[in-house]
């Protein structure tokens, strides 16, 4: 069931999601074809209604820009999933990552490539610690990580707002964000002459994907983390350090979200933020991990998919479609993936001929 079906289910989910989108548009007396137009436009900048105009790189870059943080938070959630944990604290870890990176950007002096690297490391550690806390409580006090994570999301929100105001130099024009980072700390854009904010942070995303894959699938460490997640008692019987493993898993999981925060703030905002609410990337990570079946390659593709749906949402209004339709499609996809057992069940029913695992 594991690999083959996961792919099948994700594809069924995507098709179902898009059909839902078409249906909603059709029943509200709009032209469903416009959704296709919007999707193609967001993907490649190519306007199907004006076929003479060329491809516009700006759109492609913005699509990729949108996928960067959600691949990272997707890895964050997936890492926890694979080791039997549910990290719903991505939002908080992301905020901590943002703020720690901002602090290092403003207060540590370093030359260019080193400076953003230091900032990202700071984000990694801050996010990691924010994941580590529910990890410890789970390992030693058997408190469910979901409860702690949700509380920590709110604590992170207020903590970072206070910290930015109290310790970072505030920009007098905004009053609620810090002054701009020095040039040496900023991740430069990679926009091929367009106005996109797509940036070299993509390198970090790629490295994170590779590390995730290697650690989970190839290393002894990943093996013992997975064993602990799949059968805690068997891992204990085998002599693994089960408590340490739970804490490490949550630290690493949090670190991925922290990196997402650092990369976003260094590549897009260029200043320390006080948050008005959750950016939503942490929650998007849950969708990305679910649809991507919690493996590296799957997350790459589901990240691209959700990135596309997010940018499409922004473009939909141009085609007289409410932008909520994009969210609706995302919702429908998650619904199917979450209800995958229904699909497995139906499949068993329909294809009596085939043998499947339970």
């Amino acid at each position: 069931m594991k690999k083959v079906n996961a792919l099948k289910i994700s594809l069924i989910a995507v098709v179902f999601g898009l059909l839902t989108g078409f249906l909603i548009i059709a029943v509200t007396n709009r032209n469903p074809y416009n959704l296709v137009v919007a999707l193609v436009r967001s993907m490649a900048g190519f306007n199907l209604l004006k076929p003479d105009k060329p491809i516009n790189v700006l759109y492609i870059l913005n699509w990729f820009l949108e996928t960067m943080p959600i691949i990272l938070t997707g890895l964050s959630v997936a890492f926890a999933f694979r080791t039997g944990l549910f990290n719903i604290g991505g939002e908080g870890q992301y905020m901590l990552g943002c703020t720690a990176a901002a602090y290092v950007a403003l207060f540590v002096k370093a030359p260019f490539p080193l400076h953003p690297i230091l900032c990202i490391l700071a984000g990694l550690i801050a996010g990691g610690i924010w994941g580590f806390i529910p990890g410890i409580l789970k390992a030693f006090k058997n408190i469910h990580e979901v409860v702690v994570c949700i509380m920590l999301n709110y604590i992170a929100w207020y903590l970072t707002s206070w910290f930015v105001r109290a310790y970072l130099p505030i920009n007098p024009n905004t009053g609620s964000s810090s002054i701009n980072f020095p040039e040496s700390a900023i991740i430069p854009t990679l926009n091929f002459g367009t106005s996109s904010q797509f940036n070299y942070g993509i390198i970090v995303v790629v490295i994170a994907l590779v590390i995730f894959h290697v650690v989970i699938e190839k290393t002894t460490f990943g093996y013992s983390l997975r064993a602990t997640g799949l059968n805690f008692e068997a891992a204990r019987y085998a002599g693994m350090k089960t408590k340490f493993n739970i804490c490490s898993s949550m630290f690493i999981s949090g670190a991925f979200s922290g990196i997402a925060g650092a990369v976003t703030i260094l590549g897009v905002y260029h200043y320390g933020r006080t948050f008005q609410g959750f950016d939503g990337y942490g929650f998007d990570g849950i969708s990305v991990a679910l649809v991507g079946a919690s493996n590296g390659i799957g997350i790459l593709f589901s990240g691209l998919l959700f990135g596309l749906l997010k940018t499409t949402s922004n473009n939909l209004q141009l085609f007289n479609i409410p932008k909520e339709v994009g969210e609706l499609i995302q919702g429908a996809i998650i619904f199917v993936v979450a209800a995958q057992y229904i699909i497995i069940y139906l499949e068993e029913k329909l294809s009596k001929k085939k043998g499947e695992f339970k």
Binding site: A234, Y237, K358
Partner: protein, 514 residues
């Protein structure tokens, strides 16, 4: 006489294997029909098809002469078919009655749950069949044997007439097995029909009317049990002669490897489960630990292997005090452990088989370098163990462990632990759920390990196994050692008396003449 069940030309294909290959099974009404076959022969699969858990690839099922399509367990239930799985499906924090009525809760006035009338009915059924179950007891406070009776009650409460038992005796103590046999006979008296999967030929001989033998997915024959014997059935199922006697030469014990001194261990309730327990096991000998279930065996083993804290006393391995060592350090010192509960401790069911073979040793030089697992080494190791121990599954080393048959899961654990044992092997219930052919092989392997100079502590509820394999026998009663004797100086009677605590005889100390 008419047939209650007819399964005609049933075939079931799983990826990589034909679990059932054109099997035909006819079960006479109001009889006990046994299914016999090697581990992985396809018995559980066939019964899962009858219970609606799997759909057959091809074939026809008739219930009471009528062709039916059993698409899920609810359909099976409506047809009067019930099943007791090897691993019970009960909710621990619920009472007996609450578990039984799950899914068909009786409504009282104003839609409230009418537990009282349900409990009354449970009590009536329980008395009718001699089950002696307390309707208000909580599941987590009753024994495994009682839990099984709750599963039986569940079927009876639903008026099921055709009852499937998948290896019901594998988890029971000898006394509980006797009780279950009686219960089955009572069920037949009341007009039920029973399908029984078991590896114990004695049980088939005792209760079954007919027996269908399956080999590698193929139905070999259906025989009249009264006209055959255990030897014949075993041969029919394995396809060769099986040796029931354990051929064993004299042991040649060397230095003491495991030494337990005045051990006290508490159970999860905080009571002393092991009291002042002392025992030595030498290299090259098998010490059997006999006892009635629940007399402290599990706690003793957990304490020896580091899974539970030791209250007081000491454990030495080759003279080194390992009382405070972690599980992994004990393993590194040469201790191996075949655990009692294979699903809880022995395996990660969602791992591939090959990954389960290196559960302790994934971090050793042999299977890893600089933190990376050497999957090529793991693969060849897995293949070696699979062929050596004849572990059967659909896709070999790549099979998902969860999809393997119960007996083959057990063989995988034994293969891993025996291969890794360096000094001491602690073996608990090794042959639970194994077929007679596999038992013969595993017993010979245990003896080989002994002859290779390993110290072996064998914990088993099966007296035959203890008597057959051990060189010395220790008996535990109420957490204390009530007997220690040389195998050749004792018999089942004496061991039985020591198990019940009516005889105390610690004579088999190693400095004494055997």
């Amino acid at each position: 006489m008419s047939y209650a069940i007819e399964m005609l030309n049933i075939t079931k294909v799983f990826p990589g294997i034909k679990a059932n290959d054109n099997i035909t099974l006819r079960v006479k009404e109001n009889s006990i029909h046994a299914l016999l076959g090697e581990n992985g022969a396809g018995k559980s699969t066939l019964m899962s098809i009858l219970f609606g858990l799997y759909q057959p690839t091809s074939g026809v099922i008739k219930v009471n002469g009528k062709e039916v399509s059993i698409t899920d367990p609810n359909v099976a239930n409506d047809l009067g078919i019930g099943m007791v799985h090897q691993h019970f499906k009960l909710i621990e924090s619920f009472t007996v009655t609450e578990n039984i009525i799950l899914g068909l809760e009786p409504k009282g006035k104003f839609g409230t749950l009418d537990i009282k009338s349900a409990a009354k009915k449970v009590k009536e059924i329980s008395e009718l069949y001699g089950l002696e179950v307390d309707p208000y007891a909580k599941i987590d406070s009753i024994s495994v044997g009682m839990q099984q009776r709750v599963e039986i009650l569940k079927m009876l409460y639903r008026n099921n007439n055709i009852l499937i038992f998948d290896e019901p005796t594998a988890v029971l103590t000898p006394q509980e097995i006797q009780d279950l046999m009686k219960i089955m006979k009572n069920l037949i008296k009341e007009g039920k029909t029973i399908l029984l999967i078991t590896h114990k030929l004695k049980e088939i001989k005792e209760v079954a009317d007919e027996c269908t033998v399956i080999r590698k997915g193929v139905g070999i024959a259906t025989i009249d049990v009264s006209k055959t014997n255990e030897k014949e059935m075993a041969e029919m199922m394995v396809g060769r002669a099986v040796n029931f006697n354990i051929d064993k030469n004299e042991c040649d014990p060397k230095d003491v490897v495991l030494s337990i001194k005045n051990l006290f261990v508490k159970n999860f309730k905080g009571l002393n489960a092991v009291k002042d327990f002392s025992l030595d096991v030498r290299a090259g000998e098998i010490v059997g630990l006999a006892g009635i279930d629940g007399n402290g065996q599990s706690e003793l083993v957990y304490a020896l292997t580091g899974m539970t804290k030791i209250e007081s006393g000491n454990v030495y391995l080759k003279g080194e005090d390992i009382t405070k060592y972690s599980i992994i350090d004990r393993f590194k010192k040469g201790m191996s452990h075949i655990p009692e509960d294979r699903h809880k401790h022995g395996l990660v069911l969602d791992f591939e088989l090959r990954e389960n073979f290196v559960l302790h040793s994934y971090n050793n030089k042999e299977f890893s370098s600089t933190g990376f697992i050497k999957y090529d080494k793991v693969n060849s190791y897995a293949e070696k163990l699979i062929s050596e121990f004849d572990v059967r599954s659909g896709k070999g080393k790549d099979s998902l462990t969860r999809s393997m048959s119960g007996g083959n899961q057990q063989k995988a654990i034994i293969a891993r632990e025996i291969s890794e044992a360096k000094e001491l092997l602690i073996i608990v219930q090794p042959t639970r759920g194994l077929d007679v052919g596999a038992i013969e092989y595993i017993h010979s392997r245990i003896l080989k390990e002994r002859d290779n100079g390993k110290a072996i502590l064998l914990v088993s509820l099966e007296l035959d196994e203890i008597m057959g394999l051990s060189d010395r026998i220790a008996v535990i009663h109420n957490g204390e050692i009530s007997g220690l004797v040389y195998r050749k100086n004792t018999d089942e009677n004496e061991i039985g008396l020591m198990m019940s605590g009516s005889l105390h005889k610690v004579g088999g100390e190693i400095n004494e003449k055997g």
